[in-house]
């Protein structure tokens, strides 16, 4: 009996020993043999596993037997899987090498001179930055103007990028080009954009050396992605002295179908009544904006998005011109609709298509000037991204664009006489044409097998059949990650763009003009202290060729040229003690021989020093104070040095001095914003704000107007030439 018990105990012990756990241990490292901490190492379909330590070491026990898959996961790296046979093993030791994933590659290939709304891609300008920039009226374009590379030529919303004219920067929404994203257009520019912040999901801006993806553009790109299917129902109502706004996000079917809608009505009368200046208007500027989108996710990866904007504004301004005092009436209407489709095919190919139609009309009336401009654009675009492997992807795409402009009405014969009875030119000019473009770009991380060296090498081709014009643009971007914090980037490329379409007019332009050309050279150094704090310094040189130049024979030819050299610096920070903000500085020297500038001259965009300081601080739990301090060198202008009397018209013609030989006074402005955040009735998240624009009442001017014989001049104040106070609130529910 005893012996039976003894045998049974032995068998039991044997069985117990057979349940002995197996130890799995090893090291995880990257391709440089650098240990990787916090890698999740685990066996499939089990809870057996562990996270690697600071030295990349891991060790755990398992009771599992037979064949099993061991995995190692670390975000930013390719997933590692290996089959292990645990049969008759007591201990398994193995080394795991993780390779950087495509996602990580995408981040490392990000080009110089760019910033976006996504973290991990270098410099970030998030929606919250846009919303809380003092004086920015939550307008993306006005907030962008505080970033380096965008010069403070005027207070308008248009982007003057590194010495470029605003038409040299394009705006794209969900792949589609939009040529008129502004409201309140006047001869001094536009005040705000039509793109409502509520709709922006992601944003990418580049001030030079950008990808071959973007064509027919010389200086800058703003690429916006709008929101998709909303996750939750959410509405907000905003009201201020200048504007009222309602927006809502409405999911219909979770993760499948939803709407986004925004209505915005501005009425500036109260703001001018409070701050003065109402007498300058015969019709205080008002605008209306309706933006909406319908989003449908028809599969896990397939999405359809229909996005549209309807915007309208009117304004009537009393104008004190030299020879004429009257009213400037502006009336603008803009419609834009875009259907975008995106999907992932064969797991490695991302495809995006868009088809858009935009219809814009703008009427200006001032004295003899009575001009209606219409601009209709149809565009189609197809972009592909093919991932060869985790380290390289090919971008390619085609775009087709058809644009038709019409100028209808009358314009004065000379710029010094716009009186209603002045000599005029009657216009009914149609300018239309199509553009076909295509590009290829190869992005790779660890290019040529060099660790931390990434590149994007691209080429694009554009053709304008009606003008029999075409061009090829090579683009190169290289980046080298010096260490965990710093990256050196360089970009160079050739960029072509058609001049302003009105210069192709057969009446007063030249239908045979060629495209303008620019060559960009950029060298950039980025230092990321951590995810919230970053620094960047960039040197750039831009060479312009084939710029349109006025000639007596052809009206315009392509013998213009120019350059822009500069340095851009930014330090952006979010500190844990409640401070956040950024300091940016840009130095530029730019000259152009173009349009009516017969010699290489300081261009009108030559703003030598540009400085912005945005600082926001929580002074108490619910109170935030913010400042926006701007300084910019005065804009160059051509002075009037005398006048000649024209008997036939009974008007003086100004005699101009050397082109752009004078500068307006330096631009200085301080905006202050006090924000109070609270919740009303336990349900309404509320923001109350008091904003002082140009709080120090510093004088900034747009230009001068003169006495009829040009012997005296007076200043024309800028939009915010006087202290302006705005109060408002928004409620979210």
């Amino acid at each position: 009996m005893k012996s039976k018990i003894f045998i049974s105990v032995l068998l039991l012990l044997g069985n117990l020993f057979s349940q002995t756990k197996i130890k799995i241990e090893g090291n995880v490292f990257d391709e440089d043999k650098k240990p990787l901490p916090m890698v999740m190492v685990f066996l499939s379909n089990s809870g057996d596993g562990v996270m690697s330590d600071e030295q990349g070491k891991f060790s755990f026990l398992t009771k599992l037997k037979d064949k099993i898959i061991l995995n190692a996961n670390l975000i930013g790296y390719e997933k590692f899987s290996k089959e292990l046979d645990l049969q008759d093993q007591k201990k398994i030791t193995l080394d795991i090498e993780l390779k950087e994933s495509a996602l990580k590659m995408k981040e490392s290939v990000v080009s110089a001179s760019s910033f976006g709304s996504e973290k991990g891609k270098g410099l970030v300008l998030s929606r919250i930055d846009v919303l809380t920039t003092p004086g920015g009226a939550a307008d993306l374009f006005q907030s962008l103007k505080t970033m380096p590379g965008i010069t403070q030529v005027s207070e308008s919303a248009e982007l003057y990028v590194r010495g470029g004219d605003p038409i040299e920067t394009i705006t794209m929404i969900d792949q589609a080009l939009i040529y008129h994203p502004f409201s309140y257009e006047s001869t001094y520019g536009s005040l705000f954009s039509n793109l409502k912040n509520e709709f922006i999901k992601g944003m990418y801006f580049s001030s030079g050396g950008f990808s071959a993806k973007f064509g027919n553009v010389l200086s800058g790109v703003l690429d916006i992605e709008t929101k998709g299917v909303p996750a939750l129902m959410h509405s907000s109502l905003g009201i201020s002295l200048a504007n009222t706004n309602f927006s809502t996000e409405l999911p219909i079917i979770e993760d499948k179908l939803g709407f986004n809608f925004n209505f915005d009505q501005s009425f500036t009368k109260p703001i001018f009544w409070l701050n003065g200046g109402l007498e300058k208007f015969t019709a205080a500027p008002t605008s209306k904006n309706i933006t909406g989108s319908v989003n449908y996710a028809y599969s896990k990866t397939g999405k359809l998005k229909l996005f549209g904007i309807y915007a309208r504004d009117i304004q009537g301004v009393s104008v004190e011109g030299t020879e004429y005092q009257g009213t400037f009436d502006g009336n603008t209407q803009s419609k834009f609709i875009n259907l975008q489709h995106s999907n992932v095919l064969f797991s490695k190919l991302v495809m995006k298509n868009s088809f858009s139609v935009s219809n814009y009309s703008n009427q200006w009336k001032l004295g003899v000037l009575d001009l209606l401009k219409t601009d209709k654009v149809y565009s189609f675009r197809n972009d592909f991204e093919y991932f060869f492997n985790s380290r390289s992807r090919l971008l390619s795409g085609i775009e087709l664009e058809n644009r038709k402009l019409n100028y209808l009405g009358q314009i004065p014969n000379s710029d010094y006489n716009i009186r209603p009875d002045a000599q005029k030119k009657v216009l009914d000019a149609n300018i239309f044409g199509s553009r076909i473009g295509g590009y290829l770009e190869l992005e790779s991380a660890n290019t040529f097998g060099i660790n931390n060296f990434a590149s994007a090498i691209g080429i694009r081709y554009d053709r304008i059949p009606s003008l029999n014009l075409d061009w090829i643009n090579p683009r190169l971007n290289f980046s080298y990650k010096l260490n965990e914090h710093s990256t050196l980037k360089t970009a160079l490329g050739i960029f072509n763009q058609l001049p302003d379409p009105r210069l192709f007019s057969s009446v007063d332009g030249n239908p045979n003009l060629k495209s303008m050309k620019a060559v960009h050279y950029v060298l950039s150094y980025d230092y990321l202290f951590d995810e919230d704090n970053s620094f960047r310094i960039e040197l750039y040189h831009k060479d312009y060729k084939n710029l349109p130049l006025e000639t007596s024979l052809l009206n315009y030819d392509n013998n213009g040229k120019g350059f822009a050299n500069g340095v851009d610096v930014i330090l952006k920070s979010t500190l844990t003690n409640g401070w956040s903000g950024w300091i940016s500085y840009g130095f530029i020297s730019t000259k152009r021989k173009w349009m009516d500038f017969e010699e290489l001259t300081s261009s009108s965009f030559d703003i030598t020093h540009n400085f912005s300081l945005i600082a926001k601080y929580f002074i108490a739990v619910n109170w935030q104070v913010g400042i926006n301090l701007k300084y910019a060198t005065g804009r160059p202008y051509t002075p009037v040095i005398g006048s000649d009397y024209r008997l036939s018209e009974n008007v003086y013609e100004p005699v101009y001095g050397v082109k752009n030989s004078s500068r307006f006074q330096d631009y200085k402005r301080l905006d202050l914003r006090l924000t109070y955040f609270t919740t009303l009735f336990d349900s309404f998240s509320s923001v109350f704000y008091l904003e002082g624009l140009n709080i120090l009442d510093l004088k900034n001017i747009f230009g001068y107007y003169y006495s009829p014989d040009y012997s005296e001049r007076k200043e024309i104040s800028s939009y915010f030439g006087r202290r302006t106070v705005v109060v408002g609130a928004s409620f979210s529910f």
Binding site: P37, S44, K79, S117, G120, R127, K201, T574
Partner: protein, 264 residues
């Protein structure tokens, strides 16, 4: 009849006496440990009544000694869980929200408790956003500042990274949210918890199971279901009855993997 009543009264007083005896017999530290055990049990089963018992114990200790910050911390932790449950129970949320904030503010301003206090306060404010996410504009900057301070004061505080991660995961990308950053924070949380040595502290050591659950959720969002299954199973190997994972997360993931989850 009389006998029967007497017997019932006897049993009643016997039981009452026993309870009182037990209660009076325990020192505050022992009562605290009992409360912690109940709070942990309540979290595993996600049971309001058990949380309430723990709350009563911590409340009693704190009422007896208002300088007892450990008791206040434990009390506030339970209130944080009430707010978590209150995202679907307005009455519960309303009942505890103000006192939870008040208590957490008191802890965060106390010497030696700032890192944990800030984290708990951030957790509670985060729950306010969960209940009414329109408050994100108001509260997010404050939460981030509190967590930043908590991490600066004690870089090894796993709960600070946990809450940081939950914030990152549930904030829309356009406002600074990121699944990747969330996962990095959860990984840090797990790593610090796994390095921690066992202690018999009288403040509740919470967050490890939450970190595993949230890591799984983040992995699911990144479509790394193998990793999600691993962390869920790991959590169950530690607490086999952890209801959130056992009855919600893991079955849902398995259904999704099998293509049976109803997404409508």
């Amino acid at each position: 009849m009389k006998n029967s009543t007497s017997t019932k009264l006897f049993v009643f007083f016997f039981l009452l006496g026993s309870i009182l005896q037990i209660s009076f017999a325990l020192t505050p530290d022992e009562q605290m440990k009992e409360g912690i055990t109940l709070a942990k049990k309540a979290y595993i089963s996600y049971d309001k009544e058990t949380f309430q018992k723990a709350h009563d114990i911590f409340g009693k200790i704190y009422a007896a000694d208002s300088t007892n910050l450990q008791a206040l911390y434990n009390l506030t932790y339970v209130e944080y869980r009430f707010l978590e449950m209150g995202s679907r129970d307005k009455a519960l949320f309303d009942k505890y929200v103000n006192q939870a904030v008040e208590h957490a503010e008191k802890i965060s301003s106390a010497k030696g408790f700032a890192s944990e206090g800030n984290t708990l306060l951030a957790s509670i404010l985060m729950m306010k956003i969960t209940y009414n996410w329109a408050e994100a504009m108001t509260l997010s900057p404050r939460i981030n500042a509190l967590l930043g301070d908590a991490e600066a004061i004690n870089p090894n505080n796993p709960r600070a990274y946990l809450i940081h991660g939950i914030m990152k995961l549930n904030t829309p990308a356009a406002f600074g949210g990121s699944v990747k950053e969330a996962l990095e924070n959860f990984n840090k949380t797990i790593s610090y918890f796994e390095k921690e040595e066992e202690s018999s502290s009288i403040t509740i050591n919470w967050g490890y199971l939450d970190a595993l659950a949230w890591t799984g959720i983040a992995n699911e969002k990144l479509e790394m279901s193998d990793a999600a299954i691993f962390v869920y199973k790991k959590a169950l190997s530690i607490e086999p009855e952890f209801s959130w994972i056992k009855y919600v997360l893991l079955p849902n993931l398995e259904k999704t993997k099998n293509g049976t989850k109803n997404t409508f």
